[in-house]
């Protein structure tokens, strides 16, 4: 009996030795996969929540802690640190489409309500383009840039906030949005959904760590 038990014990040890690497790999893989999925989930929730607040006039542009940034810090803390040297960055970009109605609005010379659409004054150079009307970021901007273009740093004001100051500016000289094809351009001739001149609020969040591209990225458009 004793010899037979000892024999069985040896077999079990061999089985265990063989199975451990498999189970460990499976366990770690599941853990890795689960963590990445949860972070991907949370980063999208963060983008959505921040965009929901921003589109309702909450201002996250101030530098340093305090104010609205307390909210930002609180809802991103499970992902990383949103500081200039931290592990995360959040981009706030407000866009608009410069259509004929926008150009007409900046051309009082030709009459505000009966404009000559082909002869705007000043010239409506951004006609037919999506432009950035406001942009700012919080966190470590070296980690990732906005996917929709970056306003010139020189235009950032003291509150870390690039914001064009008038329709004339965004219709003529504002930074064009790059690679924005998520929304169709309004035709302004027939039925449109998104209307020319209406704001589009985009929040992008990126945090380093586990993920297919070395980090997790999420965005929301309101």
């Amino acid at each position: 009996m004793r010899n037979r038990k000892q024999t069985h014990r040896g077999v079990s040890m061999i089985e265990f030795t063989l199975i451990v690497p498999f189970w460990c790999t499976l366990l770690l893989g599941t853990f890795w996969c689960g963590t990445a999925m949860v972070r991907g989930l949370v980063v999208n929730e963060v983008a959505r929540d921040l965009d929901s607040m921003w589109s309702r006039s909450t201002d996250f542009s101030a530098t340093g802690a305090g104010g609205s940034n307390t909210i930002l810090t609180s809802i991103t803390q499970s992902l990383g640190t949103v500081t200039p040297t931290g592990t995360g960055v959040v981009w706030f970009t407000r866009l608009t489409y410069v259509g004929k109605s926008v150009c007409a609005g900046i051309s009082p010379t030709y009459g505000v309500f009966t404009p000559t659409l082909t002869a705007y004054n000043p010239p409506c150079t951004n006609l037919g383009q999506f432009v950035i009307t406001q942009q700012y970021s919080q966190g470590n901007t070296s980690l990732r840039s906005s996917a929709f273009g970056t306003a010139p740093v020189a235009l950032l004001d003291a509150s870390n906030d690039y914001e064009v100051d008038s329709a004339v500016t965004y219709a003529t000289t504002a930074t064009l949005v790059s690679n924005f094809n998520l929304l169709p351009k309004p035709q302004e001739a027939g039925a449109d959904g998104y209307q020319s001149g209406n704001p589009i609020y985009v929040v992008e969040a990126y945090f380093t760590g586990t993920g297919p591209q070395g980090g997790v990225y999420g965005y929301a458009i309101f």
Binding site: T30, L41, A47, P108, F113, S166, A167, V168, L183, D192
Partner: protein
């Protein structure tokens, strides 16, 4: 051995199911974010068109566009969608409940998500859904624009900014109106003369309507946008009358369930009041007008009325002998410029075929061709009076205690409906710029050279002649105008049924500083908290802030280029509150 062999068969499906369910949850969260964003954007697009049908169509299309923008989906499995999601199906429905003044956008969306492990159990795909809703409360809004002569280079920007602002509202649902401020204010859209009975004049054949839903309709000419575009600058600044006319318009619309809003644009301090200058007790020294002559007598004007307003008007203060008109400190700020040039005809009260388009483009009172005339006993609206001086300054011996609308010009109004506490004091006018600014002479006596500070009560020390030399009288008119405007804000805020919200926009006209704008007054009107100090006067912005009243917003606009952004910001604030 058997256990070891069976363990993978038991655990692998469990782990696989966990991964599939997590993926479903991730996609559901992303779809929910898409629906939330789409609901907000769709509610914003309700401004398209002038009736509900095109607005409904725009909201539906916009909602669908924003869902697609937020969550990429393929047309089938392996189509490159978010976590493989495919076949997005959505429903965007905008509905109106007229009784509650609310338009609601309801969105539901579903996608299919391919399963990685559950397919081993026969489940190739799962359906993931999300639901969202955004509501937009109807707005009843009166835009009050100061078109006084000081409105110069910024006028075009104001017209463009205001037009964009107006176009963002929901034609056919939101109700908008326009009041323009000159020396006397008037209801420019929908045009109506509050000084006449319904059917008695050219502007009110159908009676007062208040703001209407046709403000941007091409079937109405001129509509509100046309009138804004035609507006030119000229005349003085009767801010109190402008606010009260806006309030009367809101009262006429009478939409307690909607957001009732007054937006005031101005580039300077009030300097005019519209009042009944013959409202005192006949034959007593309380009257504002006396028989003329170098030495005014105590005899008032009996048997006299400017009949176009008179007893058939709709104002509560009008009596049988009323002389309705306006006077202003002349030529700019009250403290350092000329005094009044008499009592003038109130806007729209003329019988000479005056029209809103003409008032909208009036250049200056007294100018050639102007109908903003000085009241006279010999002809026109003042006909019938035994009033002998057309210029009238030497006959105005008291500033009327109240303006035409019941706003106290001196001190504090009698209790008004609602509970506001007792924060307003009889000396609040001393918080005005014209009292505090160092260049002002209003608290230093006549000429700014010292002496007894002015008191905003008692006898108005009118000039002995009609000369336009600077005098302390100008201060008294300016301070009375400030006080009446402050009281107008108090009266409006006391309405607990409509609960109007006042937004104020002050144009400074320079990179820094507040220019001619009285920051304290505009902060008080908007009921915004004011713990900061006004750099111009060193005073706390608002000592009468009341946290039981919905605060508005005070926007200070520095330069022409900032006008459009200010209207955008205001729009964002109003739409945020209405959603």
């Amino acid at each position: 051995m058997l256990f070891t062999m069976m363990l993978p068969a038991l655990l692998l499906p469990v782990i696989g199911a966990a991964i599939d369910f997590t993926a479903m949850y991730i996609v559901k969260e992303k779809l929910q974010a898409a629906v939330d964003g789409a609901a907000i954007a769709a509610a914003q697009s309700l401004s398209a068109g002038t009736s509900f049908a095109p607005q409904q169509a725009a909201a539906q299309l916009c909602g669908q566009e924003f869902i697609a923008a937020n969550i990429p989906t393929g047309s089938g499995p392996g189509g490159g969608g978010y976590w493989g999601a495919y076949t997005l199906q959505d429903s965007v429905v905008a509905t109106q409940v007229p009784a509650s003044k609310v338009t609601t956008v309801t969105i539901s969306a579903t996608v299919y998500l391919p399963m990685l492990f559950m397919r081993m159990l026969g489940e190739n795909a799962a359906t993931v859904g999300a639901y969202g809703q955004a509501s937009r409360r109807s707005v009843v809004l009166v835009l009050v624009i100061d078109r006084s002569g000081s409105m110069g280079a910024e006028l075009g920007a104001v017209q463009a900014g205001a037009a964009k602002f107006v176009n963002a509202f929901q034609g056919g649902t939101d109700m908008l109106g326009l009041v323009l401020i000159s020396g006397s204010a008037f209801v420019a859209y929908p045009p109506h003369d509050w000084g006449k009975n319904p059917g008695a004049g050219a502007f009110n054949a159908a009676g007062p309507t208040g703001p209407d839903v046709d403000f941007n309709s091409s079937t109405v000419s001129p509509n509100m946008l046309d009138t804004l575009g035609n507006m030119t600058s000229g005349s003085n600044t009767g801010t109190a009358e402008g606010l009260m006319l806006a309030y009367k318009e809101l009262q006429t619309a009478n939409q307690p369930g909607a957001m009732n809003i007054i937006v005031l644009w101005t580039d300077g301090a009030p300097n005019g009041i519209t009042a009944d200058f013959n409202a005192g007790v006949l034959g007593t020294a309380t009257n504002s007008l006396r028989f003329s002559g170098a030495a005014p007598t105590a005899t008032n004007l009996s048997g006299c009325t400017n009949t176009n307003d008179g007893t058939t008007g709709q104002y509560p203060n009008v009596a049988a002998n009323s002389i309705l008109g306006w006077m202003a400190q002349w030529g700019g700020y009250a403290y350092n410029s000329n005094a009044t040039q008499g009592v003038r005809e109130r806007a729209q009260s003329s019988t000479a075929g005056m029209s809103v388009p003409l008032w909208t483009t009036l250049s200056a009172p007294g100018a050639s061709g102007s109908d903003e005339v000085t009241l006279s006993h010999t002809s026109g609206p003042g006909n019938g009076c035994t009033w002998t001086d057309g210029s009238a300054i030497n006959t105005v011996v008291n500033i009327p205690a109240m303006d035409y609308y019941g706003d106290a010009t001196q001190g504090v109004n009698a209790p008004v409906p609602g509970t506001l506490g007792n924060q307003f004091t009889t000396s609040d006018y001393k918080q005005s710029n014209i009292w505090n600014t160092t260049t002002a002479n209003c608290q230093k006596g006549a000429g700014g050279t010292g002496g007894v500070p002015l008191q905003l009560s008692g006898t108005f020390a009118g000039n002995a002649s009609t000369s336009n030399t600077p005098s302390s009288n100008a201060c008294q008119i300016g301070l009375a105008s400030w006080n009446a405007t402050d009281m107008a804000g108090r009266q409006i805020h006391a309405d607990t049924v409509l609960s109007p919200i006042i937004y104020t926009m002050g144009y400074a006209g320079s990179v820094s500083g507040s220019g001619g704008v009285d920051v304290v007054l505009l902060s008080r009107l908007a009921n915004v908290t004011g713990t900061a100090l006004n750099p111009q006067t060193g005073l706390v912005y608002n000592t009468v802030y009341n946290n039981s009243i919905t605060p508005g917003l005070y926007l200070q606009i520095q330069q022409v280029g900032d006008v459009s952004t200010a209207f955008d910001q205001l729009l964002s604030e109003i739409l945020r509150l209405s959603q």
